[in-house]
């Protein structure tokens, strides 16, 4: 069961430069493509003619032509041509979905058209803001998207999963503050006067002790932004402050798999491509460590007794609030639909 009146990230904008992309979102097989004029589009991938994949077809002008028998569809899903000049049957159309192509991501709305609302988009402007530099990437994860969400809401895992990059004992020793702001759950942790984690020793290269502030926000249904600010403590021969945003979109593919899109940007040395490259590589390797755990966690939950329940401790505060919020929003949406 997914919230449907939501924007989900369907693709990196770059992915639509080439051939149409077949991708399953919320259990539904979709085709993603960009028309000749540059408009991103998302439709059901199942051609109404015989069920063949539209994604094997070709973009011709503003239409997508099926790769099997050549039925042509506008981005609205309307069929505008059938080879051989057949009269176009009324049922020869596919469902298409509203799209927003922004900040390097293609967002899709798979819910009720009466509720389409761009103000529900999370604010990911830093990925396109002057003064900020970084990159974005994609990971396929064979786990439910809520396991990725909870991974990011409890960063104490950094100490155990990411020994070579994000580990610091302060992350487990410093209590969090959790708060709810409408559709947002915020988790804050201020780690003051600590040894920098290996990542920050490399980027931007802190040598002395730092104040390391984390602000993690879960934006229902599928986004986590992590704002990290690291400042050299007074007395160190260093007056730098480095800020980072890790912006995460966890789009359900199925109930057992997730399209995990992430972007990582920093507010210093924006022209230094070597830092950008290194930052990207470190983060990619770090997130792969999460994927390895998450996929095993999913398998263990799959084989767990039906009444199995996690055991909560204070650091789960964010996870618990997020689960509670989602339960409420799902009930609301079910109620408004019924």
């Amino acid at each position: 069961v997914y919230l449907r009146n939501e924007w989900y990230v369907a693709a990196l904008s770059d992915e639509l430069e080439g051939r149409p992309v077949a991708r399953t979102l919320l259990g539904q097989p979709l085709v993603l493509f960009r028309t000749a004029s540059g408009k991103a589009a998302v439709m059901d991938n199942r051609c109404p003619h015989r069920g063949a994949p539209l994604s094997t077809g070709e973009v011709v002008g503003e239409s997508l032509v099926c790769g099997y028998h050549g039925f042509s569809f506008e981005t609205t899903g309307r069929c505008n041509h059938i080879p051989g000049g057949a009269v176009i049957p009324a049922k020869a159309c596919v469902r298409s979905y509203p799209v927003v192509d922004r900040w390097g991501w293609v967002f899709v709305w798979m819910g009720d058209l009466a509720h389409v609302d761009e103000s529900l988009l999370p604010n990911f402007r830093w990925t396109a803001e002057p003064g900020w530099a970084g990159g974005r990437d994609y990971l396929h994860v064979r786990s439910n998207y809520t396991l990725v969400r909870d991974n990011l809401l409890d960063l104490t895992h950094a100490r155990f999963v990411h020994k070579n990059t994000l580990a610091t004992s302060a992350v487990t020793d410093t209590p969090i503050r959790t708060s709810l702001h409408g559709r947002v759950v915020r988790v804050e942790r201020n780690m003051l006067n600590i040894e920098p984690s290996p990542f920050f020793k490399k980027i931007p290269g802190f040598k002395g002790r730092v104040d390391h502030r984390q602000c993690i926000e879960f934006h229902a249904a599928s986004y986590i932004s992590i704002n990290t600010t690291v400042t050299a403590v007074a007395g160190e021969d260093d007056d730098r402050t480095a800020a980072f945003y890790v912006l995460n979109a966890m789009t359900p593919e199925t109930d057992k798999s997730t399209h995990y899109f992430w972007a990582l940007v920093r507010n210093f040395a924006p022209e230094d491509d070597e830092v950008t490259r290194m930052q990207h590589e470190l983060n990619r390797a770090t997130f792969q460590e999460d994927v390895d755990i998450l996929e095993q966690q999913q398998a263990l939950l799959d084989s767990a007794p039906a009444d199995w329940q996690p055991v909560a401790v204070p650091n789960d505060g964010g996870c618990i609030q997020a689960a509670r919020l989602m339960k409420r929003l799902l009930a609301q949406e079910a109620g408004s639909t019924a």
Copy 2:
């Protein structure tokens, strides 16, 4: 649900030269082999002793000896020896199936023995006829066999799927004639005075315009023969006519997979092995393009809502007639069994 009182192709005759072959047909695991005297045989693969695969055994004279504990079976399925001299229990036998070994293919009858009828075999004599040359091959397809059938009954796909070999815009622009002849559905299309498709520009090498006639016949339950005749049009400096048969046997493995046997023969330059080789390679690559689409189509149909129905256009005439014929034959067979 399959028609059972039918001949299905189980193997290329050549496949039985070596070790016994394990192959599932109509959902049933079979062993196919050839005895010392050269007789092709098909039996259930599950040894009645412990359920081990007879296909791991060895042909000894006219018998197949199980590869686990050595029970020996005649091609009738009768057990004729148990090591250690045990009395042979009445239940120690396997079901065997009538076989016809003809035209390079091994046909098997998995239905009622009272109805075995060689006259139901399709006529594939061209694969063994003097003056005709070509070859045969095998493809495993992870789709229901009816999707392969419908692929061949609507050749308009050639324009979109087979751009480098069979494509011609005439195939979509020329209407078909569909007719029913007993257990045969015929689809005819005469494309007159057209540019030859890439294949015919290579083989036999038409340079000018041609008349290209297609006659596609579906022989229930699992055969399609395609007769193609290409003739240089009057006025071109060419008086050639080239005829081809593509003979296709789509044998259900399971409801989601098909053993697809094909043969392609031509009526010219029968001694030219280079043409035979090139024709084979082009056709193999072309059919692989179909497999790619068919497997994705099957996956999309698997995930379709239960009430999903294809949308029909005139070029589906052959597919619709074939589906109707099969429905009638299945009902007949069910009625005669009940």
Copy 3:
């Protein structure tokens, strides 16, 4: 359905020298590890906190620290530390299992703690006895463990499956004696004055005729020991007797897969490492031949009609007795539990 009040082999003792091992036994995902003091331990692998795999964690002293958020567990399954100093919830514990680390194998008891009984361990002392030499290994088999058991209880298969090592026509031609001794089924076969099988021609190198005696014992629920004694017959220029034990532990992973542990030891030339190596290689290749058959057998049984039953002959005596014993023991255990 498995007997639970039993010792099952979980691992080779050597396997626990490195990182914790994730392994499923009787359908339950477990973690196996050895503490700093050298104690072997087995616990459920699912961390009670969030369901992550304890096997990705690290052994710290006598505890296993979860690789996700660092919950620490003693070998009893008691949680002794949660990072951040949280109060340890009562439910933050995992189930641990009694272990015996003996003869190179780690035995685990997954049944009722009130019934733990080391006297139920099979006697595998030869693997650690002076004067005996050999090795042990592990095979993963995608078949139910009873198929492995029955493979070993009917050695007539050696003639057909192991043509290059164990084959001898005497194995099928010599009748067996089957007897029941409490929880043990014994199958004996004395093959007198026969040509040695290929294995014994190599190890220890019999050239003339031999008496070859087999004593196979099934110890419920998951063990087979095979004692083989080969003696040069009187009149041959050879007075050697060679004895071997093949000790087999077939631990159910799931109802379709088995952890198959084996050890092979001999009572001669114990210092000859080349013989030990060759003996190991021959046996490993031989058992792989069994695995190939067993996995196909499982697949054929999976697709068999629900009422399919094997057909029994006298050489199945051991298999039949073993199945009968297991049925009785399962009923007993179910009765005592209920």
